[in-house]
């Protein structure tokens, strides 16, 4: 029966093909129901897999794929606890977002294509997590990049959206180069890219092996691109140009977590390369803090959430870098719940205000959009790490492991948590509290049930989702760690983790964090509710630090000057000189030479019959003569 798990990705693929082919002929409701139906079936199968997964990884062999010389790769799926958790997240949250999109995209004329693209994305993401070799994962990796491009630039008539889509795709490609180099090195070292071949072989390597370090660093470059870490993160805020369900699904819950999945899957390789682990943790924590500082001053709802996503991804990488593999996966799960909820809630606000995205023009929506408000509040509590919401458990596990290995990282992580709480509550207060600051023409209204029901379901998950990971220090059994244990045990054995700090110290750490977070929230309350501060309108002069943060530290401009412009100049050089003059010159010259030659040969055709006859006779004489020789 487990073999049917192989069908999980193919239902969304069927959805994409059918809706894509019958695009104009399908009525909107049919396309929507079909797409959601496909996701529901996949979710059901994923649920079945999840319930019956065995501790031992199970490989499903589907088809031979490439077989050239000594290089062979097959199309196989791998079912184990790690992939089954991701399956549940992708199909479950994906299904809820599909339902939400029925309402959000209702008035759009490209409605059917949207669902087709969404299904395509889910297909590729499922291939990514189910593939049993790096090569198949790379196929899914590229595929989700493609779907992301299609969906970010969905409203393609706007040129700046197209640029955002291109930027996302190109930055991903830079990371993919690293990924590909890593795969090639894996082939050279292990002879195959299958997980079940590499990981047992890797057990025999010494820790700190330089080849493994190189491989893991290159793979991490790929993760940096896909999961928006420094320096390849600038595409994610720009990707907010896509419709909000896209931001929720791709850029919050699933695609950006592909990097985390990849590093978690390669756990044993990273465990053998402490240098890479350190780099991963360093990049993660720096990104977490850096992005949080930018989010403090942003005024677009979706941009705040985008930088928040970058920051939270940083936390996940921090967790991976200090060896807390199952904690990172746990945070992926809880983040999927509350971040998708935040994005969908933002979409609900935007939909209710007919397109307004600037929080300076919002306020007082608490009464007009009650369901949205309550769910948004629950998600904000979760992301800030207030117990007993889900975010608290996952984030604090990561911070506890960070404390055990590097105190500085722990401190930076706590600072990041404070900033997270601050900017999230700032967003909440400015949007929903106070008085309405927008122009009076728009009549704010609550969204239809088809949009609010997924919000409610995600809110419930954000609230109780943490209960599967209650750590031992609080008396729980941390079911999720136990569930993921068989996957990460070899890696953890290699790392020789120091046994976690004593329970009391863990509770102490948690208390410190919670106290600091509550202090941040109070500060936000003070600024934005008591003092009714509103961020300055566009164009006012800002103090230096605020200005830097508001303009995202001018990183985009720096990239533009350092990288884009020189590349443009080089391209122009090649176009003008090499292509136009040199290559066209060669082609034209060959044409001219042919013309010249034929001009010479023209004189043979005199049109005179006896000249031809003479030529024939002499020719025959020559032929016979040469045959004699």
């Amino acid at each position: 029966m487990m073999q049917y798990a192989a069908l999980i990705p193919f239902f969304p693929l069927v959805g994409f093909i059918l809706i894509g082919l019958l695009n104009k002929k399908l009525p909107k409701s049919a396309a929507a129901i079909f797409a959601c139906g496909m996701l529901l079936i996949s979710f059901g199968l994923s649920l079945y897999v999840f319930m019956n997964i065995s501790r031992q990884a199970q490989e499903l062999q589907l088809a031979p794929w490439i077989n050239v010389g000594s290089f062979s790769a097959s199309f196989n799926f791998l079912l184990d606890p790690l992939s089954s958790i991701f399956l549940m997240i992708i199909t479950g949250v994906g299904f809820l977002i599909h339902i939400y999109s029925i309402g959000y995209m209702h008035d759009d004329d490209k409605h059917n294509i949207f669902f087709a693209y969404l299904n395509l994305f889910v297909f590729f993401m499922l291939i990514l997590v189910l593939g049993s070799s790096y090569l198949l994962m790379f196929v899914g990796w590229e595929g989700v990049g493609l779907s992301s491009y299609l969906l970010i630039g969905f409203w393609f008539k706007n040129n700046s959206y197209n640029n955002a889509a291109k930027k996302a795709f190109i930055m991903n490609r830079i990371g993919d180069l690293g990924f590909l180099l890593g795969i090639i090195l894996l082939f050279i070292t292990f002879g195959s890219s299958d997980y079940l071949t590499i990981f047992p072989k890797a057990q025999g390597f010494m820790g700190g092996d330089p080849m493994i370090t190189t491989i893991t660093l290159l793979l991490f470059v790929g993760a940096m691109g896909k999961s928006a870490q420094i320096p390849l993160y600038t595409w994610l805020p720009d990707a907010m140009a896509g419709p909000t369900p896209v931001s929720a699904l791709i850029h919050a819950a699933t695609m950006v977590t592909a990097g985390i999945y990849m590093v978690a899957r390669s756990g044993i390789l990273y465990a053998l390369a402490p240098v890479s682990m350190y780099v991963v943790a360093l990049v993660g924590v720096v990104t977490a803090v850096f992005a949080a500082t930018i989010a403090l001053t942003q005024n677009d709802i979706k941009k705040v959430l985008a930088y928040s996503t970058v920051s939270q991804l940083g936390y996940m990488f921090l967790g991976l870098g200090v060896g807390a593999f199952s904690s990172s996966v746990f945070h992926v799960m809880t983040h999927a719940f509350f971040k998708a909820l935040l994005f969908l809630g933002a979409g609900s606000v935007i939909h209710g205000l007919a397109g307004e995205q600037d929080i300076r023009n919002m306020g007082g929506l608490r009464k007009k959009l009650p369901v949205t408000f309550i769910t948004f509040l629950l998600a904000t509590l979760a992301i800030s790490g207030i117990p007993p919401f889900s975010g608290f458990f996952s984030k604090d596990e990561i911070l506890a492991h960070a404390f055990a290995s590097n105190k500085l990282f722990w401190a930076l992580g706590v600072i990041g948590s404070m900033m997270t709480a601050f900017y999230m509550f700032r967003l909440l207060f400015l949007t929903f509290y106070g008085t309405y600051r927008g122009n009076g023409k728009v009549h704010a209204h609550e969204s239809p049930k088809v949009m609010t029901i997924p919000l409610v379901i995600l809110a419930i998950l954000s609230t109780i989702g943490g209960l599967v990971g209650i750590p031992a220090s609080l008396g729980g059994t941390s079911q999720i760690s136990k569930f993921l244990d068989p996957v990460f045990k070899p890696a953890e054995a290699k790392m020789m983790l120091s046994e976690g700090s004593s329970s009391i110290s863990e509770i102490g750490l948690m208390s410190i964090t919670v106290v600091l977070v509550i202090a941040s929230i109070s500060l936000a309350w003070y600024f934005y509710i008591s003092r009714k501060r509103v961020p300055s309108p566009e164009g006012t002069k800002l103090p230096v630090l605020t200005n830097l943060s508001y303009h995202k530290y001018y990183v985009d401009e720096i990239y533009n000057a350092l990288i884009t412009k020189p590349l443009d100049k080089i391209s122009e050089f090649f176009k003008d000189i090499v292509d136009n003059k040199l290559i066209d010159g060669i082609v034209n010259a060959s044409g001219k030479v042919t013309e010249w030659l034929s001009g010479l040969m023209r004189f043979v055709q005199t049109g005179n019959v006896d000249f031809y006859l003479l030529a024939m006779v002499i020719g025959i004489a020559c032929i016979i003569f040469f045959k004699l020789m």
Binding site: L614, V617, L628
Partner: protein, 164 residues
């Protein structure tokens, strides 16, 4: 005896052929060509190919040359209307032909060394030829009939005057 006959006939043929090429009047050319055919027919008889000798005279001298004469009469050609060539052209023509002659003779010289098979009196007699033609070469025979058909149709189509 045979040798003398051969030489006389050979010289006769060559002289007639030369006159064909060199005479200015087309009608004279045709008549000289008929003479050449007769000489060659004589050669055939020397080689015991009697049937071919007769056929040569009937077909070539009788039919084809008469056809040529018809056309010449139709076009009303005579000595004055004959176009002339420059001396240079004539020289080149002679040289080219001479070159070809040398090469041909040189290449075929060694053919004499092949073994001569025993002579049979029947080769060349019409009965024997008939047997070979209708047993081994039946298909080409039939195909030549098709060839004639095509040539006939072509000639008729080409010769028709356009009906205005």
């Amino acid at each position: 005896m045979t040798l003398y006959l051969f030489i006389i006939l050979g010289v006769f043929a060559i002289l007639s052929a030369l006159m064909v090429v060199l005479t200015k009047n087309p009608v004279h050319s045709i008549l000289y060509l008929v003479l050449t055919f007769f000489a060659i027919a004589g050669e055939y008889v020397l080689l015991n190919a009697q049937f071919l000798a007769i056929v040569n005279i009937i077909v070539y001298a009788g039919a084809i040359m008469v056809l040529f004469l018809f056309v010449v009469m139709l076009l009303n050609l005579n000595k004055e209307t004959e176009p002339h060539k420059s001396v240079m052209r004539k020289l080149i023509a002679v040289v080219a032909a001479g070159l070809l002659l040398v090469v041909l003779v040189g290449s075929l010289k060694g053919a004499d060394n092949m073994a001569i098979k025993p002579f049979s009196q029947n080769t060349g007699l019409i009965e024997n030829l008939g047997k070979v033609l209708f047993n081994d070469f039946l298909l080409p025979f039939e195909l030549s009939a098709v060839l004639f058909l095509a040539a006939m149709v072509g000639a008729v189509m080409l010769g028709k005057k356009d009906i205005k």
